[in-house]
C-alpha cells in the first residue's frame, strides 16, 4: 500500500494527490503504523428510527476482518444496547471501536444527564425508561446487565451532569487455542 501511494507521488501531473498526500503524511506521521485501528460513529439522541446504525457500522467494520462470528455478535449486542441507552436517555453521543492485536475496545460517550446510581443501573430489571419508551418495546432494564454479560470487562463513568462514558473490552481469543 505504501508503495501504491509512493508510486503516485512520482506522478508529477497529479497536484491534487500531492496536496492530499502531504496532508495525510502530516496527519499520520509519515505512515508509521498506528498502534491500533480506531473508528467513531455519531449517535443522534431521540432518533428511534435510525437507532442502531452506529452499531451496524461497527459490525460491518469487524466483519471485513478475521474475527470469530461469536465475538462480533457479542460486540454487536453491546453496541446496540449502549446505543439504545444513548438514544433513550443520553442525547447525542458517539460510539467508537478500537481494534488492537489482542482486544477490541468499544467505547460509548454521551452528553446526557448521566447515571445516578451505577450499581443500581447494573441490576437486571432496573429501568428509568418512561412510558413512551416502553410503548416502543424498550426499557426492560436489561441494557447494562446485557452489556455486562456480553463483554469481558466493563467500566461505567458517570460524573453528575457530565455525560456518561461506558468502556467495554473484549479479548480476542487466541486462534490456535480456540480451534
Amino acid at each position: 500500500m505504501r508503495a501504491i501511494l509512493l508510486g503516485l507521488t512520482e506522478d508529477a501531473d497529479l497536484p491534487l494527490v500531492k496536496v492530499r498526500l502531504a496532508r495525510l503524511t502530516a496527519q499520520s506521521g509519515n505512515f508509521k503504523p498506528m498502534p491500533q485501528l480506531k473508528k467513531s460513529f455519531h449517535i443522534k439522541g431521540r432518533d428511534f428510527i435510525r437507532a442502531g446504525e452506529a452499531s451496524i457500522n461497527v459490525q460491518n467494520l469487524l466483519k471485513s476482518m478475521d474475527f470469530d462470528p461469536r465475538l462480533i455478535r457479542r460486540v454487536a449486542i453491546c453496541g446496540y444496547e449502549s446505543e439504545m441507552n444513548v438514544v433513550m436517555h443520553g442525547g447525542d453521543g458517539t460510539l467508537s471501536i478500537e481494534v488492537d492485536n489482542d482486544k477490541l475496545i468499544l467505547e460509548i460517550t454521551d452528553d446526557g444527564p448521566g447515571i445516578e446510581d451505577i450499581e443500581l443501573a447494573m441490576q437486571a430489571g432496573y429501568s428509568t425508561a418512561n412510558d413512551d419508551h416502553r410503548e416502543m418495546g424498550f426499557g426492560a432494564g436489561m441494557g447494562l446487565p446485557n452489556m455486562k454479560k456480553n463483554s469481558d470487562q466493563i467500566q461505567v463513568e458517570s460524573p453528575p451532569n457530565d455525560g456518561t462514558v461506558v468502556r467495554m473490552i473484549f479479548f480476542i481469543p487466541d486462534k490456535g487455542k480456540s480451534d
Binding site: 473508528k39 442502531g52 459490525q59 476482518m65 455478535r73 446496540y80
Partner: protein
C-alpha cells in the same frame, strides 16, 4: 478462469449487451460486481445468486445461468421438480393441469414440491415444539427455504448460522425421495435420467442435497420458469379448452397436485400461514432481509420463534425468472385459497415417525454450512484496515462509482487488496480515462 468456477456462478453477463451503466453495481448485496473496461464483471466467489442484477439491468445483459427447454432429449428420462410458484403463473388453472402440461411437454415425471414443503412444515413445527424445552438452537430460528438467505447469512452474518433451522430443506427432501424411489428403476434399465429443477430464481439446484448414493448420479439441470413458460402455456391452454382431460396415471402421491392452494407457498408469509407456531414473522425483499438480519445480530427478536425470510419482494412469486408479475400472481393465489381454503394432505403421524428416525436432520455445523453455501471473501488484517482508512481519506468519498466499484469503501478495499489502483478514482486520476 477454471470451468468449475464458471459453472458455480448463478448469473451470466453478456458483454455485447452490457452498456456499462453500472446499475447492477449498487444493487448487489455482496458487492460482487465491478465495471472493468466499461463492462460489468463479477467476482464469482461472492455471488449468492439473488438475481437483483437481472432485475435491474435495462439492457437485459444479465441472465440466469439456467438452461432452455430445447435440451429435452427423447433418449433421456426427464423428471421435472416443480416449484409451486409455477402454478401461480397460470391464474385460474388447477395445479394438476399445469403438471399435466409439463407431462405433455415431454417430462416423464412431474414432482410437486408442495408435497415436500408440507413435510418440511410438519417437521419444523415439531422441531420448534421440542426446542422450546431443549433450547437446542437459539431463537429466533430462521427459515432455510430460501437458499439466498442462507448464503447471505453465511457471507455477511456468520454469527447467525446457528439460528438457521436445522431441518432438511424441501428441495433436499424432494431430491432425496426422487433419487431413492424413482431413479434406481431407470438406472437398472440403463436409461439416463435428468433432473430438471423448475425455479423462479437463479438458485440452481440445492447445494445441501445429500450426496448421491449410487455411483452414476443423475444429471441435474436448472430451468427458469420463464424458460419453459412459452411452451408450457400452449399445452395448458389446450388442456383448459379440452372437454375431456386426458388421464395421466401417477404412481406416487407427489407426482400430481390435487389441492388448489399449493401455490400459496410462493407467497411471502405462505410458509408460516398454516404453521402451528405462536410467534412467527414473514419478511420479504433484499433490503428488508438485510435490515432484519442486522437487528437479529444485535440481539433483537429473541422473543420470536420463527422468521421466514425471502430476498425477493412478495416472496418467491417475486422471483426474477417468473413469467407474470408478482402482484397478479399473488392475486391468483389468494383467489385459489379463497376457493379451496388451507388444508393439508399428509398425515402428521407419518411425518412424526420419520422425524423420530432423524430423516429431517440437516447439517448443523456452521463451518460446513458455510462451505456448502459458498460465497466468501478474504479477511483483512488490522494493517490493511488502516491502509483502507488512509485511502478513504485520499479519495473524496462521494460514491460516484466512476472507478467501477459500487462505493468508495469497496474501492479502497480493492486498492489495498491490489485489485484496483488509486488512479482509477476520478478525483485522483482527474480527467484520465475511467473504467466506466
Amino acid at each position: 478462469m477454471s470451468k468449475k468456477l464458471t459453472s458455480t456462478c448463478f448469473v451470466r453477463f453478456d458483454r455485447d449487451l452490457c452498456a456499462g451503466h453500472g446499475s447492477c453495481l449498487r444493487v448487489c448485496p455482496t458487492k460482487a460486481i465491478r465495471i472493468k473496461k466499461k463492462k460489468a464483471a463479477r467476482i464469482v466467489e461472492q455471488c449468492i445468486g439473488c438475481g437483483e442484477c437481472i432485475r435491474i439491468c435495462r439492457e437485459r445483459a444479465v441472465s440466469a445461468a439456467t438452461e432452455g427447454p430445447d435440451i429435452l432429449d427423447k433418449d433421456q428420462v426427464a423428471i421435472a421438480l416443480v416449484s409451486p410458484v409455477l402454478y401461480a403463473q397460470f391464474p385460474g388453472v388447477m395445479p394438476k393441469d399445469v403438471l399435466l402440461g409439463l407431462h405433455q411437454m415431454g417430462f416423464e415425471h412431474t414432482i410437486d414440491m408442495s408435497y415436500f414443503l408440507e413435510m418440511f412444515q410438519c417437521a419444523t413445527e415439531e422441531f420448534i415444539r421440542r426446542n422450546q424445552t431443549s433450547n437446542q438452537a437459539p431463537w429466533p430460528l430462521i427459515s432455510p427455504i430460501c437458499p439466498i438467505v442462507v448464503r447471505l447469512i453465511a457471507f455477511k452474518f456468520p454469527s447467525l448460522l446457528p439460528n438457521v433451522l436445522p431441518v432438511l430443506r424441501p428441495v433436499a427432501l424432494m431430491a432425496r425421495e426422487v433419487k431413492r424411489r424413482l431413479i434406481p428403476e431407470y438406472m437398472e434399465k440403463g436409461q439416463e435420467v435428468v433432473l430438471y429443477y423448475i425455479n423462479p430464481c437463479p438458485t440452481k439446484k440445492d447445494p445441501s442435497c445429500l450426496p448421491a448414493r449410487q455411483q452414476s448420479a443423475p444429471t441435474e439441470v436448472a430451468l427458469g420458469i420463464n424458460d419453459i413458460y412459452p411452451q408450457l402455456i400452449k399445452h395448458v391452454e389446450q388442456i383448459k379448452a379440452a372437454d375431456a382431460i386426458p388421464f395421466y396415471q401417477t404412481r406416487f402421491e407427489y407426482e400430481t397436485c390435487a389441492t388448489g392452494n399449493a401455490s400459496m407457498w410462493g407467497m411471502s408469509g405462505g410458509e408460516i400461514a398454516d404453521m402451528d407456531i405462536d410467534r412467527s414473522l414473514a419478511v420479504s425483499g433484499m433490503e428488508e432481509t438485510i435490515h432484519y438480519l442486522e437487528k437479529i445480530e444485535m440481539g433483537l427478536f429473541q422473543d420470536i420463534e420463527y422468521i421466514e425470510f425471502r430476498t425477493c419482494r412478495e416472496g418467491c412469486l417475486g422471483g426474477v425468472l417468473n413469467a407474470i408479475d408478482k402482484y397478479l400472481a399473488k392475486s391468483a393465489v389468494q383467489r385459489m385459497i379463497k376457493r379451496f381454503g388451507l388444508g393439508r394432505r399428509l398425515h402428521r403421524e407419518n411425518i412424526l415417525r420419520m422425524y423420530e428416525k432423524g430423516d429431517f436432520q440437516s447439517e448443523k455445523d456452521p463451518s460446513k454450512l458455510t462451505s456448502l453455501f459458498g460465497a466468501r471473501k478474504e479477511a483483512l488484517s488490522i494493517d490493511a484496515m488502516q491502509e483502507i482508512e488512509k485511502v478513504m481519506q485520499l479519495i473524496k468519498g462521494t460514491d460516484c462509482t466512476a472507478c467501477g466499484a459500487p462505493d468508495c469503501r469497496t474501492f479502497a478495499e480493492d486498492v489495498v487488496r491490489g485489485q484496483a489502483t488509486l488512479k482509477d478514482c476520478l478525483f485522483i486520476g482527474g480527467q484520465r480515462k475511467t473504467n466506466r
